[in-house]
Structures are given as C-alpha cells and as structure tokens.
Amino acid sequence: MYTAEFTYKKAGSISEAISLLQQHPDAKLLAGGHSLIPTMKLRLASPPALIDISKVAELRGVRLEGDHLVIGAMTTYHELETSDLLKQHCPIIPQAVHLIGDPMVRAKGTIGGSLAHADPAADLPASMLALDAKIKVQGPGGARVIAADNFFTGMFSTAMQEGEILTEVHVPVRAGARMAYAKFPHPASRYAVVGVAVVADGGSVRAAVTGAGEHAMRLSKLEQALAGKPLTAENITAACQGLLPPDHLNHDLVASKEYRAHLVDVMARRALMQAAGL
C-alpha cells in the first residue's frame, strides 16, 4: 500500500508550478491524484517528486467569457457535475461527469488531470472532441492553445510538451445545440469500455468516442453520414453502422475488438437518440 519515497512540493500559482517543474524535471504534477496515486501505490510509477497544483486558485472554477466557457484545469468533477453554467450551456459535461467513477472520485478528480493523463478509457476526452473544445497549456515559454482534435496523440500521451501545465479548457457555447453522452461502462472499474459523445448543432453533428482506441477520436464516418440530415430514428439507425473497423481497436477481458466496434455503433445510436429526444 505504500508508494516509493518522493519529494512533495505544493504550488501556489501557475508560475510557481512551472518553475517547480523546471527544478524537478522528472516530477509529476499532482491534481486529483486518482489516476496517479493508484499507480504509485502498486509501484508501477515512482516519480521522485510530486508538485501539487490542486489548490492553485487560478486553476479552478467555471466562468462564461463571451461566446465560450472557461473551465479551470483543477475544477473537480463534482464542481463540473453541479455547475449551473455548464448545465445551462453545456449539459453534456455534467451528464458525462455524472458517470465517472463514483462520488468520492468525483470529489477529487479534475478535468485537467483527466485530459492531461489521457487515459484511453477516460470519459471526458470524447466530450471535449465533440464540443470542439480548446485546451490551454502554459510552460516556461508562455501559453498556447491546442484544439482538442490535436490534443490526444496516443495512449496516455498528448500534444503537451515537457514542462507545460494544462491550465484551462475552453468550450464554445452553442445555443440550441443538442448533446448527449452514452457510455458502456466496464463492469468492474466503471471506466468507459466505449463512450460516445455527440453534439448536434443545426445540420451538423460532431461525434467522438472514447475507450475504443488508443485515444479518444472523432467518429467522422458518422458525422458525414448525418451531415445535413434531420435526426430521425431512421437516419440515426442507418448512420450508426460499422463506424469503426475493429482492427485497431482496444481489446481486453471485457471486450474484444469486434465487440468494441459493435458497441461504438450501439452507443453512438443511443447518444444520438438521447440528444434528439427520441
């Protein structure tokens, strides 16, 4: 139950966190800790230092800035789940978050921690892609914004560079958009075996899946199939067929590649039906 030894540093601000990261280049950032600490307890990871950024005030909270929502990286799942701003302007996030882990996990886990960790079975990445979110990161060289589409680059890997910290998530507000997340949870861990997020806005649909492959990805075949079409049960069912070829999908005790591919179709259909109110 004990992790290996490490040095603990608590950052009070983004700039302090960045400079601590420069002093301890092999350090890991500690956010909610619900991915990192379990791996450290099993000694699958033994970082020499942890930099705790969970209490950095400027990294917390949800606010509306013009046409988009700004979500601080250290905003917890619980805060996302109960945010009135999100419920009003971006209900898919509270809906997806409600299905993450359990209440204790949601009390500690953060959006920034989840996205930076880039677990292929994490729930939020699918919604980020479907929402066309922008992810702001900051490092010694300053800040930059990465589109969600370019953020997830592999299993547990992102477009962030050494020394950078994920600081904010920007989500465009789409009045009238219909959105939903459908998840097939792993029966034991409750991670997503497959989770599909859809955002339907006017005649276009953005859809993304998590759990299926090395990282969350857009379902472009589905998006094209529904482009310009009304979201009827018929159109949805017709579009949700063979969305991903099984060959490159994940496989484990719970789901083979073929079954995962099938679940992508089913979850896509269910998310769309829910979004369409059918």
Binding site: P187, L253, A255, Y259, V266
Partner: protein, 789 residues
C-alpha cells in the same frame, strides 16, 4: 418476563461498535514494540528458485530479518497439512515459504520483517530471487493431459485424488433404457471470495513463559491452534492462544491455515517482538483460497412419464497448487452427495478427478460444493423440461420428493430428515405470480424484449455431522460443537461458543435464544467467541453449522443450568425439585406462585452456597458438547427475473424472489440479511465474477478493476419469505441459512438468462454471462441479414 425473543427482529447488539468505527479488527491492533512483515511473492506460476540473495534487503535500514523457506525448514517448521483425506490422496508438502519451486503466482519465497510496514515493503523489493521460469498449467483438464508440467515432482500426473459415489452400473442401465437424455458440458467458473477485510495476522511471543498469541482473521481459531501445535510448529497446544477478534467477513476464505500465520509466529519468536502482517488486496486475490472451478459433463435421463431416472456426472475439480484445509471435501462429499437435490432420482453416479494446477489453491467458498451441485442439477432440469416440452416448474413438480417420503434416503448417501418442497415451491410461485410473469414474457417477446424467468428448487445439506460419520469420510476433525454457559453471582450470563461470528450476528441471535431459555433479559447475556483461551473448544463457523450445531450446544448447556437452578430453588423453597417450575422468569413451586425465587436469587446462592443442598456442587455453569445426529437440510425455491439487452448482451436483474425454509427463524432481520448477501454472491458468479487465468498461470482478473464484485446498482431489492419445516433432530428444530442464498441464486439467475435467450435457440452458455459472451451467442444464432441490427 418479556415476550419470547425467538422470532423477533431484534437489532444487533454488535452494531454499535461497527457503526461508530470502534470495532477491533486484527489490523487495527498495535502492540508495544510491534514490527511488520512483508512477503516476497513469486511473480511466476511455476519457477525453480535457483538462488535467493537477501543481502541488500537485510542491510536496508530498519530491516530486522529476511526469512527464507530453507531457514524455516532447517528450524524444524513443517508444511501445512490438509484436514480431509481420501483413500489414495496425494498430499505433497505445502511449506509456508517455498524453497525449491514456486507453484503459483503469489507463492511466498521470502519474508521481510522491518520496523515499519513501509520499510518492509521497500526492502521486499530488494530481495533478489533468481527464478528459472518453468511451463505452467492453470486449467484442471490441461493438467491431466499427458506431458503436462507437474506441479509436484512426486505427483507426476497431477492427480491429487479421484473419487466417486453411486451405483455406476445402475445409472448406466437407466441411461440405456431412458426415454430421453440430455447432456451438458459445464464450466463452473473460479471465484475469488473477497471478504472485504483483507487477511491479517499478528503474533506475539512471551519469552518468560514460552507462550505465543496469534490474533488472526479466522473463522475457526481452534483449528489453527490444533494444526500449528500438532503438525506445523510443534508448539505445545497449551502454549499457543489463537484469537480471532472482529473479522470482516469470511465466506470460507478464513477457514484455512495460511502460510503468513506461521511466518509471523516464527518471526515473533526469532525477534522477540510482536510481528504483524496485513494483506494488500492484490495479495488477497492470489493467496486467499479460491472457490468452485469445475469442468463437468452432466447428464440426465427420464422415462416416458417425465420422471427423472438417473443423473450421471463426471467432474474435474481444480485443486490449485496445494491442498488447503478442507479442499478435498468440497468437490466430493459436499458436491456428489447433493446431486439428488429435491428430486426422487433413483440412480445417481458422480465421478470426480481432482488435479493440481499452478494456480491459487481452491477450497470452500460460501456454499462449497453445494452451489456447484445445484447449478448443474438445475441446469439439467431446465434443459430437460425444454426437451420434453414441459414448463420447467411442472417438470420439477413432477419429480419433487413428496412430503410423506421423509426421512428420505437418497442414492448418494444422504438421508434427508424432513422437507416439504412442493408447498414451498407453490408459495414462491404465488408470491412472484408466475403465470402473469410468463404472460408478460410472451408480450415482451413480441416487442423484441427478452425477459427470462429462472425458477429453481434446492436443498442445502449443512451442519456436517455426526463426527463419527464425517470421520469415516475422511475428516481429520470432529464436527460437534461446544458451549459453556457461565452464570455470574449477579445473574449475568457469559456464553462461550466454539463457533465464530464474522457478520452472522451470533452475538444477537444466540443471546436471544439464551435469554428465552433462561427467562432473563437479553441485556444480561453476552456471547464470547473467537478465542482459544476462553472457550472449551470449537470447530468454528462454516458450512452453515453455527446455529444448528453451535446454538444447539448452547441450548443444551442452558438446560443443564435450569436443571441445577431447580435443585437450588427446591432447597430454598423447601420443595422437591420435581415440583419446581421455571415460568415467568422465576423458579416456583408448582401451583404456588408466591413461593418463588428469581434467577438472580438462584445465581447468588449458587455462588454463596450458604443455604445450599448438601449434595450439590456450588457455582452455576454448564458445558455441553453437542454432536448432531445428522446434517440439517434447509431448502427453498428461488426465482430470478432478468432482461437481456440484445444490442449489448448485457443482463439486467429485474426481480429476485426467494422462499427459504431454514426451520424456525430466530431473528428474521439477520436471517433475511444472510439471504440477501448470499443471493448477491451467487448472482456475482452467474453474471459478473471470474478468476481468469492465462495459459501461463497468470491471473488476469486479480484486482477490483478487473474482477467484478457486485455493486449496489447490480442488485435489486430482494423479495423474501419463508416456510417453516423444523429439523426433527435438534432441540430448536433450526437449520442453517448462511449459504442458502448463494447455493440457490447462481442456478436461478443462470436459468433466467438461458430462459431469456431461448428465442435465439441458445441451450447453454457457461457463466459468467458477461455482455460480450451473450452478445456473441446471439450473433451466432442470427441470420446474417439480421446480425447487423
């Protein structure tokens, strides 16, 4: 005197400590000077240990000792024996720390003792073991193949034992002349017990008196003391005290003598410091004895009239790498002898082959053999009913043992003492409204919804007895139970039992019965259990024996108290003992209610002995050793209703109803709770749980991220009722209820899922019914044009 407490849903007296966080579990304990153990475990299922270099670990600051198997063997510590022997059984040694080969993942190769647990775990990583990995075998049938790697050098064919029961010739003849037969190949999935409290052991050695104390997570501390004293360590039995304090669930997994208990005792003496070890859950997964793991060919024959004429079973029962304490009994006497179930089947034959494999040992897990028997029998019954075009309930009804047939001698040794199966079945059918359910199923099917209804009847033989019988079958233990009832001068009563409560609520239920018997307030009774230093003796709690065996002993001891109290009362009231009656909490002269003494009066005088019968011993306590005449035979009907989502294959439990007959119910709150938990565990086997091994003997579902324990949202509120058929041969007519839920629910849920899948033409799938397995089965039966739906 208050109303009788027997039958009252009294709140548990043990709960205040648990709900306020003041329970006392083994890992909660701290002793002065206590140090900590961490185990170095084999990552390989099978490997030769070429060399162990402990020097780095030994020199790590804070490390006090690194113990190897060779050291313990040289110190004269023997292997851990099994407690049940069959003719011809192979019992290769099971050393606490192995020194030649590792035989399963998690086999201990060294133990590190250090000042803190952190240091012990750090240093355990520094023990350098030079392993030569060897081919391994995980599946029982693979272990029996020619050329399979041997788990033990002196058992080259891996056959630990073979066993059979029944008249094979008669069974074969019945099959030859059968109207219809069905045959199923069944895999009974391997389970990990997963009591929520991980195992823990704390040992203390007192040099001045040469005495040891072991606090450990045990269901039966006396068995540990006996095994450690007589077989393993040679500690004189009176110099070893074993205490099982609050224990966080057992389900069988805490019956057994485990290596870590030997290691902490050895280390405590070696270092003259108390030594504690607590399992991490990932250790529990690979070291707590597992359950089930059968590969079976099961067949049933019927005659023209639809009566079952024969059942034939051939089972490979995986024993794992070593035999733990009761392993050989589980797939034999607790399994083959149960194959009559509730039916009049005249001819039954069961053959079992039990191989060693490079896996965690397999032993009794809640139900132990009986769930396996019930599962295969009830699957056969459903498949046969379908084959005959009969409703599965009507087929059962036709074959149930009628109420006037008791005592009923089965063809597989057991004699059922009592039963009323059809009345119990009818009650369940009425409560669930079976006809309406079948109609609803028909309507749903038209809408493309797949509901399944699983109805099963079962018996559970529990409270193994009498001792002479179990001894003749191979038990190396008695199966009687002891009780000591001690009345104090103030009339307060201590009751000592050899059974152990680790969730079953004995402190409440047993006290209710004692209070009734002695006609005193229940608050005046305390139950003491789990300490070899305090009770006469005990064989512990497992096999649903605590109430029928342990409580019966207590009742008979209280009756000795009452007999003696009557003599004291007679003396004080100047009457004949024959004229004293015990009523309304008083001992009074029959017909003269104002000539009476209270229990307190008697208790006090028994201790003062001032005005006392000349020929009577002072004091007021009684011991009773109770050896039952027979097993007890609870039974019942369980009904599961499920829905299968054909899109994903996911099975959802819609309803669960059980009608159990455990005889008179002492405390319905507790008895019902036992059923609820048992049902969840059985449902876990049917839908969720499986210890999956790969070909190399690595467990792939070795933590809660991969091994699915039922969670709150996997369950529904359980509908539950009773019928009452008393046991004719114990003082209260009581039977066990601890395992019934698990014995019944696996089969009920399995039959429900298969019933749901009937429209697809699916006859049988192996458990657990995981979504992909069900989805694939559906896909395989669909015409290609529909498969894409």
């Amino acid at each position: 005197m208050a109303d009788k407490l027997f039958g009252k849903a009294m709140k548990r007296v043990e709960d205040p400590r648990f709900i306020t966080g003041t329970g006392n579990y083994t890992d909660d304990m701290t002793l002065p000077g206590m140090v900590h153990a961490a185990m170095v475990r084999s990552p390989y299922a099978h490997a030769r240990i070429k060399k162990i270099d402990v020097s780095k670990a030994r020199s790590y600051p804070g490390v006090l000792a690194v113990i190897t198997g060779q050291e313990m063997k040289d110190a004269g510590i023997n292997g851990i024996p099994t407690g049940w022997l069959h003719p011809g059984i192979k019992t290769p040694p099971h050393y606490a720390i192995t020194f030649d080969k590792a035989r399963h993942v998690g086999d201990i190769v060294a133990a590190v003792i250090a000042e803190t647990r952190q240091i012990a775990e750090d240093a355990a990583e520094l023990v350098e073991v030079d392993y030569e990995p060897l081919p391994a075998v995980a599946l029982g049938s693979d272990a029996l193949k020619p050329g399979a790697p041997a788990v033990h050098d002196d058992v080259p064919d891996n056959v630990c034992f073979t066993w059979s029961i029944g008249d094979k010739a008669a069974v074969d003849a019945a099959f030859a002349s059968a109207h219809k037969t069905v045959k199923l190949n069944l895999r009974n999935n391997r389970l990990v017990p997963n009591a929520m409290e991980p195992r823990a052991s704390l040992a203390q050695y007192l040099k001045a008196s040469d005495e040891y104390t072991l606090w450990t997570t045990s269901q039966n501390p006396h068995i540990h003391r006996l095994l450690i004293a007589a077989f393993i360590m040679g500690i004189p039995e009176h110099k070893l005290r074993v205490i099982a304090p609050d224990v966080g669930g057992g389900f069988g997994s805490k019956i057994y003598q485990y290596p870590e208990e030997i290691i902490v005792l050895y280390a405590a003496k070696k270092l003259n410091r108390p030594v504690k070890w607590t399992a991490r859950r990932s250790e529990s997964f690979v070291t707590d004895s597992h359950g089930r793991d059968h590969e079976t060919v099961a067949e049933m024959a019927v005659d023209q009239s639809g009566k079952i004429t024969a059942v034939r079973v051939d089972t490979i029962a995986n024993m794992g790498a070593y035999l733990t304490t009761f392993a050989p009994a589980v797939p034999t006497y607790l399994y083959g002898c149960l194959l009559a179930g509730t039916y009049t089947t005249p001819h039954i034959y069961c053959h079992v082959t039990a191989p060693f494999t490079h896996t965690t040992p397999v032993d009794a897990y809640r139900g132990a053999g009986r769930p396996e028997a019930t599962y295969l029998l009830e699957r056969l019954v459903d498949v046969m009913a379908h084959e005959l075009g009969m409703d599965p309930v009507e087929f059962r009804r036709k074959n149930l043992i009628p109420p006037d047939a008791f005592p009923y001698q089965t063809p597989v040794a057991l004699q059922y003492d009592s039963g009323n199966y059809e009345a119990n079945l009818d009650k369940a059918l009425e409560l669930v409204n079976y006809k309406a359910l079948r109609q609803q199923q028909e309507e749903w099917r038209k809408q493309g919804r797949y509901m399944g209804i699983g109805v099963i009847t079962f018996i559970e033989a529990c409270g193994l007895a009498p001792s002479a019988l179990v001894g003749s079958l191979g038990a190396q233990a008695g199966q009687w139970e002891s009780a000591l009832v001690r009345v104090m001068p103030t009339g307060k009563v201590e009751v000592f039992t050899g059974t152990h409560s680790h969730g079953q609520g004995h402190e409440t239920a047993f006290a209710q019965v004692v209070a009734d018997e002695l006609q005193i307030p229940v608050e005046d009774v305390v139950l003491v259990h789990g300490d070899t230093g305090r009770m006469p003796y005990g064989w512990g709690s497992y096999g649903s024996r605590s109430a029928p065996t342990g409580l019966s002993a207590i009742v008979l001891a209280t009756r000795k108290i009452i007999d003696k109290a009557k003599k004291i009362a007679a003396h004080l009231l100047e009457a004949s003992p024959d004229d004293i009656v015990h009523e309304d909490g008083k001992f009074m002269v029959k017909g003269v209610p104002d000539k009476a003494k209270t229990f307190f009066d008697i208790a006090l005088m028994a201790h003062l002995a001032h005005n006392y019968p000349a020929d009577l011993e002072p004091g007021l306590e009684a011991t009773h050793f109770y050896d039952p005449k027979n097993f007890v035979f609870p039974f019942g009907t369980h009904i599961a209703v499920v829905e299968v989502d054909p899109d994903t294959g996911k099975v959802k439990l819609l309803r669960y109803l059980s009608v159990d007959d455990c005889g008179p119910v002492i405390n319905p709150l507790i008895a019902d709770g036992q059923v609820h938990g048992g049902v969840a565990q059985g449902l876990g086997q049917a839908l969720l749980e499986e210890a999956v091994y790969d070909k190399e003997g690595q467990i792939l579902s070795g933590n809660f991220l991969e091994y699915t324990l039922p969670r709150a949202d996997d369950m529904v509120q359980i509908e539950h009722d009773h019928t009452v058929t008393p046991c004719p041969h114990n003082p209260l007519g009581i039977k066990g209820i601890g395992e019934a839920g698990t014995i019944a629910s696996t089969a009920a849920v399995a039959n429900a899922v298969m019933d749901a899948l009937r429209p697809f033409g699916i006859v049988h799938l192996d458990m657990p019914y995981t979504p992909e397995k069900v989805w694939r089965a559906i896909q395989a039966t669909k015409p290609l044009s529909q498969a894409a739906d």
